[in-house]
């Protein structure tokens, strides 16, 4: 175990003090416990018991539990990748290419090397050895096709902002200064960074959507048609925490790498493969992540370069990227989306065509499902989906919150709004008329789908019935008022994950898993699940995450971590219960002597019979009698391999905008997001997730855009002063409604996950509201006031 600063352990797990915060909040919430209209939605723990035994027993699942790591975060006790200290740490700074394509002819580091305090300057010419095959550079979530980017590998320049040298120095300031002295001579090559220039060269990629019927012919014959193209610009994640890596040299060629990542084990396998290391010799730790949103799913170059530096110096090295350099990482690809919808006069759909052209790099084929969402939402006898990729001289695009869906559903739901206008049918009504109870791609029903309720409850919460249909018909003084709505849909995936539980006889349990908590609340929900499953107070649970040496976990993404890790913990807790029961049975005159495993549960610190609460043995007694002071179990979750159901989360988003009629200034004054996402583990962290998604949706609709100058192939707003995201003034009234969605099929706890659903549909709801307010349809995001001035 590495312990350079002497106190990393509290930062990794949850110290008792932090857990107490959770308890205080819980106590305060006690009386305000949500009431459940439908008993099936009661936050019971399905894996555990059917009939409640002890009324006094605390059930944490489903309650608005405060973050167990909240205190560590606000006090600065929580440490991030760039904050781990060690003696003899060297600092580094990256030199980036200023051209988007070409070759490095000469790289002169002599001036940099002359600066006092500079230890070395690494380039492709003098760096330590790295793997030479594409396979070795493929991380767990790399696109199937292509050659992953290799930093400092050779003289090839593939995008502007590419790292081409690493300056290593005694101080960060020295490294940064010396980096400015590295002189590079390039051989420039022709390049392209404009999607519109390259759209005709785009090539088709295979997607899981299953076209059916003849959408072209049905469209031509349809009574009412809508056809349009929509555009989503390149967007960058801009997490608050800068990408950083501290590679600690442990001697003997061993390294501990503190990295900002959404998957420590992915980074660990990748670095071992790139640097040809045994898995015991390189460990990756990332206890806290200051936002990542998909940018940290694949290992980023800072981890490779920090390790390169450490290997070159045989010394610990830190690399923290600058904000500008973060624009040289992945991004949400710019995408052109074309929709053609044909309907009967009654609003039922005959034809859906959704075609997307998204950006990828010259060297990898990254694509996500932009198209095909219509097949999940709307019945149509004919459907056609085509996804194309256009190659540009930019870094490979990557996942960003609800990849594919955020842009694809924006386009689909804008088009549905336009169709509703053409049909003169209320937008909610149109969606209900087309409502599909089946996933038409796979031809299967859903494990659960409460989208109708989302529409209904969202509309009620918003007051939709007071909407006057005509554009420009609602006002508030000098402002035009617009009400728009859209549907959101996302996947409810689950992945293999394992958890280890160590229970000690004093009734404390340590739960560990390699999962990352990227700010979503994984520490907290796992503490809740463990507490309920082990029948212990939450303050007796400590959670350890974000360490590659812990039990296996997938990368934290795709909204699958809550379901996956919770079930790993629940499954392992069952093993613990099995062992406790065996110990309890072995006691002389045990009240549980003839109890069967399935008839028992853990509650109030005891093994209890479900039939008769008086038949119980305390965990402590059972372990003491058996002379066992710790029970350690590790299990992997397992989910039924069920291809007969589709698994999705849904939402209905309603937005109000007010637009100054003369000046075009847009304010999003209200948003209601009614979300159905299975069992909500923690109504507080879940609320934050959806609210954050809505805020991002506001940004997507009105603010976000990475601006390129295609003459230079460079990003011209690579900083967060000029790359706009919403600020407080842009975020007004957001209401989150969770629609009850019992799901007994998807998994034992009925969990779906909701990290991404919050953003899907928001941009469309706002764009539709802007149309309703102004009568102007802006089909290229973001909707800035100058676009409202355009004549069309």
């Amino acid at each position: 175990m590495v312990c350079h600063d002497g106190n990393w352990a509290p930062g990794l797990g949850i110290s008792r003090r932090e857990v107490l915060t959770g308890t205080v909040a819980l106590g305060a919430i006690g009386s305000g416990r949500p009431s459940y209209a439908d008993e099936t939605q009661r936050p019971a723990t399905a894996l555990r018991q059917d009939n409640q035994v002890s009324k006094s027993m605390t059930l944490y699942i489903g309650t608005p539990t405060s973050r167990v790591d909240g205190r560590a975060k606000v006090t600065g006790e929580a440490k991030y990748a760039g904050e781990f200290n060690t003696s003899g740490l060297a600092y580094s700074s990256v030199v980036e290419s200023t051209i988007p394509k070409g070759r490095i002819v000469r790289i002169d580091t002599s001036d940099a090397l002359r600066v006092e305090g500079v230890l070395d300057v690494l380039t492709h010419e003098n760096r330590p050895r790295m793997a030479g095959t594409d396979q070795a550079w493929k991380d767990d979530v790399a696109p199937e096709e292509g050659s992953p980017f290799r930093p400092l590998y050779d003289d090839k320049i593939m995008f502007s902002g590419q790292p081409i040298a690493l300056v290593l120095a005694e101080e960060w300031e020295i490294a940064r200064y010396a980096a400015s002295l590295v002189r590079v001579e390039y051989e420039k090559q022709a390049f392209v960074t404009d999607l519109y220039q390259q759209r005709d060269q785009a090539f088709v990629v295979k997607k899981p959507d299953k076209p059916h019927g003849d959408a072209g012919r049905a469209f031509a014959a349809a009574a009412v048609r809508h056809e349009a193209e929509y555009f989503i610009p390149t967007e960058h994640h801009n997490p608050m925490e800068l990408f950083a890596s501290t590679a600690v040299w442990d001697g003997d060629d061993k390294l501990t790498v503190y990295d900002k990542t959404q998957g420590v084990q992915n980074v660990q396998r990748y670095l071992c493969s790139v640097f040809n290391k045994k898995s015991d010799d390189l460990r990756v730790i990332s206890p806290y992540v200051g936002g990542a949103f998909g940018a940290g799913l694949r290992p980023q170059y800072e981890a490779v370069l920090a390790v390169l530096g450490a290997l070159a110096l045989e010394r610990s090295v830190r690399l923290v990227l600058t904000r500008r350099q973060m624009y040289g990482l992945g991004h949400r690809p710019a995408t052109i989306e074309r929709l053609a919808l044909g309907a009967k006069a009654d609003g039922t759909l005959d034809a859906v065509t959704h075609e997307a052209i998204a950006v990828t790099s010259q060297f990898e084929d990254f694509s996500r499902n932009d198209t095909g969402w219509a097949a999940l939402l709307y019945k149509s006898a004919n459907a056609k989906y085509v996804h194309r990729l256009a190659r540009l001289d930019v870094p490979t695009s990557c996942d960003m919150r609800a990849p594919g869906a955020a842009p694809g559903v924006y386009a689909l739901e804008s088009a549905m709004d336009e169709l509703a206008v053409a049909l003169k049918i209320d937008p909610v009504e149109l969606r209900l008329r087309c409502y599909s109870d089946r996933d038409q791609n796979e031809g299967v029903p859903y494990t659960s789908k409460q989208l109708r309720e989302c529409y209904r409850q969202g509309a009620v919460a918003f007051g939709w019935d007071k909407r006057s249909a005509e554009p420009r018909s609602m006002r508030d003084g000098s402002e035009l008022v617009g009400w728009g709505m859209a549907t959101g849909v996302w996947e409810a995936l689950q992945m293999p994950a394992a958890a280890r539980i160590v229970l000690t006889a004093n009734g404390h349990a340590e739960v560990s898993c390699a999962a990352s908590d990227i700010g979503t609340g994984t520490y907290t929900i796992l503490a809740q699940v463990a507490a309920d499953m082990l029948g212990l107070p939450i303050e007796n649970i400590s959670i350890k995450l974000g360490d590659s040496s812990l039990p296996q976990a997938p990368v934290e993404g795709g909204s699958w971590m809550a379901a996956s890790a919770s079930h790993a913990v629940a499954t392992t807790a069952q093993e613990v219960r099995g062992e406790l029961l065996a110990l309890a049975k072995a006691m002389k005159g045990s009240p549980l002597a003839d109890a069967k495993f399935e008839d028992t549960m853990l509650a109030d610190g005891k093994v209890v019979s479900k039939q008769d609460a008086s038949r119980a043995v305390s965990i402590t007694d059972a372990m003491r009698h058996g002379a066992v002071d710790r029970i350690e179990k590790e299990k992997t979750n397992s989910f039924p391999d069920d291809s007969s159901h589709a698994r999705n989360t849904h939402s209905a988003v309603f937005a109000e905008v007010k637009v100054d009629e003369q000046l075009g200034v847009i304010r999003v004054t209200r948003v209601v997001s009614a979300t159905a996402a299975g069992r909500i583990l923690n109504t507080k962290t879940a609320h934050s997730q959806i609210m954050g998604g809505v805020v991002w949706g506001i940004g997507m609709a009105l603010h976000e855009e990475t601006v390129f100058d295609h003459r230079f192939g460079r990003i011209m707003n690579a900083n967060i002063a000029e790359y706009h995201v919403p600020v407080n003034a842009d975020v007004q009234d957001i209401k989150v409604v969770f629609v009850d969605e019992p799901d007994t099929i998807i998994n034992p706890l009925g969990i779906k996950g909701l990290g991404e659903i919050g953003i899907v549909g928001v941009a469309a709801a706002i764009a539709n509201a802007v149309y309703h307010a102004t009568g102007k349809r802006v089909r290229d995001l973001p909707i800035t006031l100058d676009k409202l001035q355009r004549s069309t």
Binding site: T98, Y177, S180, Q662, D709, R714, M716, P726
Partner: protein, 338 residues
């Protein structure tokens, strides 16, 4: 970012002496602009002369009924100073429209005047820019120029001055007090900033070896009829696409003295005496305001992405003059435009 020397000046004379001995050094006040530019290698001063502790932090009444503002008064202190709140609410509102609370806490009065353009090419040393590197060319002409100027541009540069505070100071006929090796001088605010002409590298008529010591406001503050309207890409914390400072005296429904200044449209806060003359003596109504707007914008010229600013400015001028005339100044906290 380069390595640099750091020294602290103890008094005004000290500061002026220090800059005279090292002309490649720069004063640093709040550092909110200079440090950013140094991080991007746009500014590479050999040394920083810290003036933040100079005794230039007073806001005092002058003998002729005006107010003298020390060059180191933080923007927030100035906005919330009772003299400014009561007598120059236009200035207060313009300051509060700018940046964020944190930045306004750090930013100084003198530094605000000397903040540099937000033109993206100026900030990116991998691209040509006449302002940063004279003679290298202007990338914004023919490039991304959505935020750029529509008035007073030149073939060399179409950048804007990004300040909000300065728009109000221009409208209020402020004066800038400076001290250099040759002693003190006073510049009219409208003469302080320059147009780009063929030397866009020079933003102002301040000499490189001069220190701003104070900004002085004349007695006339237009506390009754004024408004500052800032139109931007999000509701707060964004630079102006167009901003308008309007102030007037009204007798009955007739305009007496009138001031109109625009931000975000030129290399300096834009004032036009002809537009103001068109307001004076006229009824305070829509027609008058439209005429003034047309006069002010008569020579406006758009580029590929910023043509929208011309119409936006016209509408904004009319709106702001209306707000001023009706004594319903734009609130800087409620983002609804009045």
């Amino acid at each position: 970012m380069i390595n640099f020397q750091y020294a602290r000046a103890n008094d005004v004379a000290d500061a002026v002496r220090m800059i005279a001995t090292d002309p490649t050094a720069k004063f640093i006040a709040g550092g909110t602009n200079l440090i950013d530019l140094m991080k991007e290698d746009v500014e590479r001063p050999s040394g920083l002369i810290d003036i933040s502790r100079l005794p230039l932090k007073g806001v005092e009444e002058t003998s002729d009924g005006g107010v003298r503002i020390g060059a180191l008064v933080p923007n927030s202190d100035l906005a919330w100073h009772p003299l400014i709140e009561q007598r120059y609410p236009l200035l207060r509102n313009a300051i509060l429209a700018g940046a964020s609370q944190q930045l306004r806490n750090m930013a100084s009065t003198g530094g605000n005047l000397l903040q540099r353009t937000r033109c993206a090419y100026f900030y990116d040393i991998a691209t040509p820019c006449n302002k940063r590197e004279p003679g290298s060319g202007c990338s914004a002409i023919g490039g991304i120029n959505r935020i750029h100027a529509i008035l007073g541009t030149s073939e060399s540069c179409i950048a804007t001055h990004p300040s909000d505070m300065c728009v109000a100071l221009a409208a209020l006929d402020a004066k800038v007090h400076v001290t250099g090796p040759a002693g003190e001088r006073v510049l009219a605010f409208t003469d302080f900033h320059r147009l780009p002409d063929s030397s866009p590298q020079t933003d102002t008529n301040l000499h490189p070896n001069e220190l701003i010591t104070a900004v002085e406001l004349p007695a006339k503050g237009f506390p009754a009829n004024y408004s500052y309207l800032k139109i931007r890409d999000r509701l707060s914390y964004a630079f102006a696409l167009v901003s308008i400072a309007a102030a007037m005296e009204l007798e009955g429904g007739t305009i007496g003295e009138a001031r109109l200044a625009l931000g975000g449209v030129a290399h300096k806060p834009w004032r036009d005496s002809a537009a103001e003359s068109a307001l004076r003596g006229q009824p305070a109504n829509q027609t008058t305001f439209e005429q003034a707007a047309d006069i002010l914008l008569r020579d406006a010229r758009g580029y590929e992405h910023n043509t929208f600013k011309i119409d936006l400015a016209r509408r904004g001028i009319v709106r702001t003059l209306t707000q001023a005339a009706q004594a319903t100044p734009q609130s800087q906290s409620d983002k609804k435009i009045r």
